[in-house]
């Protein structure tokens, strides 16, 4: 048996699938050898991005860079290698009374990926992106040299790497701040909204809440368009908690984690089942408003409860379409987007609406800009390209852009927003596609 590092690689959406070389090393010396001996390299963490980001001719997997380096328990500063997952960070941080300042909807992404995508969470309007809390990181550049990047040191590389989709080098380690928490629970309020006007009003009213997000039923038409449930939350203080949770406020009980056993056949997810799911989801909450305490995993990572949930979309995979539309045009743009989806019948199982706060001008490669962002899952089928093109048209019309971390087929005019990333060494298939479509 001779080693052959070529293998089928795909990201979380199972689309596209490529057959490329993938290697993983844990010694910096060996990583340098890899960098010097390969062309068109892209680093890849846990492969939880969706489209063709993190795919390249030669993929360097950071999976073996999975060690913690230090944890200042007094000041909540943690340093680790870039392949450490956010779930690993939470595992040691939460019992000590710390939490991630910014987390996306899954905890199974790597720290390196969080920086390269400059991930955002339900608190973007209040606390910005992941990068706000990054103190420094080590980056391996084209020459195989390792440089420390921070706001003071190599700050040009620091900012271009943030949100830079791995096109500036390989992030090896990172040091970042954590936030204090008193409990592992969230004080949550969920409020039903009949339509788009109501949900936008709720978002405005909830601006003082740290976390806000809305689940939206994207198959509704006419006056019901934008039917949704807004969820807002705060980290619960110990004294607020009901007695049964208050005894060990920083410890959660172990939960059973079911796994989707196989790729679902294509017919399982169709317009009817999606409609039924959305109907049930909306009706499940019978009251207009529910206030409760839920553990952080249920609040932040509901989908992580089911391992390999991506298999429900079948073997042909799915895309996640996430765009942002500037605030002033937000409502009108969203209405148009939702109308187009409803008309297409290509329903999204999970549609999430959020209000982004101001963009950090230093983090010029980050996706978020002040406005409304909608994330939608679509199963890959023959009609999808046309729908994506229609949606792209609307996003373009309103001056928005597409999240590169989830992109695999959008117009290059909406995805070609990165600056200072030109490198002949670090090249992703996504970036090549975008550049080629542009010329």
């Amino acid at each position: 048996m001779k080693p052959n590092f070529t293998q089928k690689v795909t990201n979380w959406g199972n689309y596209p699938v490529v057959e490329k070389e993938m290697r993983s090393e844990d010694s910096f010396k060996k990583i340098k050898d890899f960098v010097l001996n390969h062309n068109e390299i892209i680093a890849r963490g846990n492969g939880r991005c969706y489209g063709d980001a993190s795919l390249g001719e030669s993929i360097f997997s950071t999976k073996k860079l999975n060690k913690f380096i230090s944890f200042d328990r007094l000041n909540g500063v943690i340093e680790c290698e870039s392949g450490v997952l956010l779930s690993d960070v939470l595992e040691i941080a939460v019992p000590q009374g710390y939490f991630l300042y910014v987390t996306p909807g899954t905890k199974f992404i790597s720290v390196g990926g969080a920086i390269a995508s400059d991930v955002h969470g339900k608190n973007h309007h209040a606390e910005g992106c992941f990068s706000e809390y990054v103190i420094e990181f080590k980056l391996m550049t084209e020459s195989g040299d390792i440089i420390t990047c921070s706001r003071e040191e190599n700050s040009d590389k620091f900012w271009s790497t943030i949100g830079g989709m791995g096109l500036t080098g390989i992030i090896l380690t990172a040091k970042f701040k954590l936030k204090n928490i008193e409990s592992a629970y969230i004080r949550q309020e969920s409020i039903k909204a009949e339509n788009l006007d109501e949900i936008f009003k709720l978002f405005d009213e909830s601006e003082s809440w740290t976390y806000t997000v809305a689940w939206i039923d994207c198959l509704q038409k006419g006056k019901d368009i934008g039917r949704s449930i807004l969820m807002r939350g705060e980290h619960a203080f110990q004294h607020e908690l009901p007695q049964n949770l208050g005894k060990t406020p920083l410890r959660l009980k172990k939960k059973l984690q079911p796994t989707v056993p196989f790729y679902f056949p294509g017919f399982v997810l169709n317009a009817l089942t999606v409609k039924l799911f959305n109907w049930l989801y909306y009706k499940k909450q019978s009251k207009k408003e529910v206030k409760n305490f839920i553990d952080y995993e249920t609040f932040f990572y509901p989908l992580d409860a089911v391992n390999e949930w991506n298999k429900i979309y079948g073997k042909s995979g799915f895309i996640q379409y996430q765009m942002v539309i500037p605030k002033e045009a937000g409502k009108e743009g969203m209405k148009k987007i939702l109308e187009t989806i409803a008309k297409s019948g290509n329903g999204s199982f999970l549609a999430v609406l959020k209000l982004f706060g101001k963009h950090n001008p230093d983090a010029y490669n980050s996706f978020p800009m002040e406005g409304y962002t909608l994330a939608l899952d679509f199963k890959v089928n023959s009609k999808l390209k046309k729908l994506v093109d229609q949606l792209d048209g609307i996003v373009q019309e309103f001056g928005g852009r597409i999240y590169l971390t989830k992109d695999s087929m959008s117009r290059s005019s909406l995805t070609n927003y990165l600056k200072n990333i030109r490198s002949s060494k670090f090249v992703s298939l996504q970036h090549k596609r975008i550049i080629n479509n542009n010329s």
């Binding site: 048996m1 001779k2 913690f68 230090s70 944890f71 040691i92």
Partner: protein
């Protein structure tokens, strides 16, 4: 806990698993031929579990000074030392390769194991866990130098278990089958037959707690090896395995 072969991903995963399950060790002794990588792991378990450890260099191809190990005392020994070397096609007639495989997997390793086994015997307690290989169950043309060294190691563990039984020391033989580790990176392994280090660690921990004698990491391997062991020799010799 004493760990031989501390850069092994399975060894590291086992240490993490044991600490996660709340096992208490005053100190973990990490024996290694690669100090840099192991020191990273030592820092990692300090950050993650506040676990004290000591990194000790051990090169099985060189002379070993046992006096250095005098003060080491523990009740668990985990041995994940393993060296695949070049396959038979490239390495069969390369004496250096052959010698290295035999040294690291057996001839130089066993005296070290014995040294600690003796300590365990004197204390009349403890568990010795040795990672052998399914390759030791029957010699196959693709890797029989490695396989023969592992066969010898399996026999050693079996005898040691027998010898230490009434001295209250338990010996556990692990036969991992395919694992997705450095040793096998890039090899075309069937994912259904391949365990991740984390999966392997969980199985080994279970076998450790249950005081099993011999355990395959994935149960399917016990069936595969049962079949392979029982193929008549006149057929087996013609197979390309």
């Amino acid at each position: 806990m004493i760990v031989l072969g501390s850069t092994s991903e399975v060894a590291q995963a086992f240490v993490e698993k044991a600490l996660q399950e709340g096992e208490k060790f005053e100190k973990i002794y990490l024996f290694t031929s690669n100090k840099e990588t192991t020191e990273r792991f030592a820092r990692h378990i300090d950050v993650k579990f506040l676990q004290q450890s000591e990194v000790i260099e051990l090169d099985l191809t060189k002379e070993i000074d046992y006096n250095r190990f005098d003060t080491i005392n523990s009740n668990v020994l985990f041995c994940a030392v393993g060296y695949l070397g070049e396959g038979t096609e490239e390495g069969l007639y390369d004496n250096k390769n052959t010698q290295r495989i035999i040294d690291i997997n057996y001839s130089k390793l066993v005296p070290v194991m014995n040294y600690f086994a003796h300590k365990f015997e004197n204390r009349r307690s403890g568990t010795i866990i040795g990672l052998s290989s399914v390759a030791g169950d029957r010699g196959r043309q693709s890797n029989f130098i490695y396989g023969s060294a592992k066969a010898a190691f399996t026999a050693y563990l079996s005898g040691l278990r027998n010898y230490l039984f009434d001295k209250k020391v338990h010996v556990l033989t692990i036969k991992p089958g395919f694992m997705a580790t450095k040793m096998t990176e890039g090899l075309p392994l069937n994912p259904k037959l391949t365990a991740s280090p984390r999966q392997a660690a969980a199985c080994i921990y279970k076998a450790f707690k249950k005081q099993n004698n011999v355990a395959y990491v994935l149960p399917v391997w016990s069936i595969i090896m049962l079949i392979i062991r029982n193929i008549p020799e006149f057929i087996f010799k013609k197979l390309k395995l």
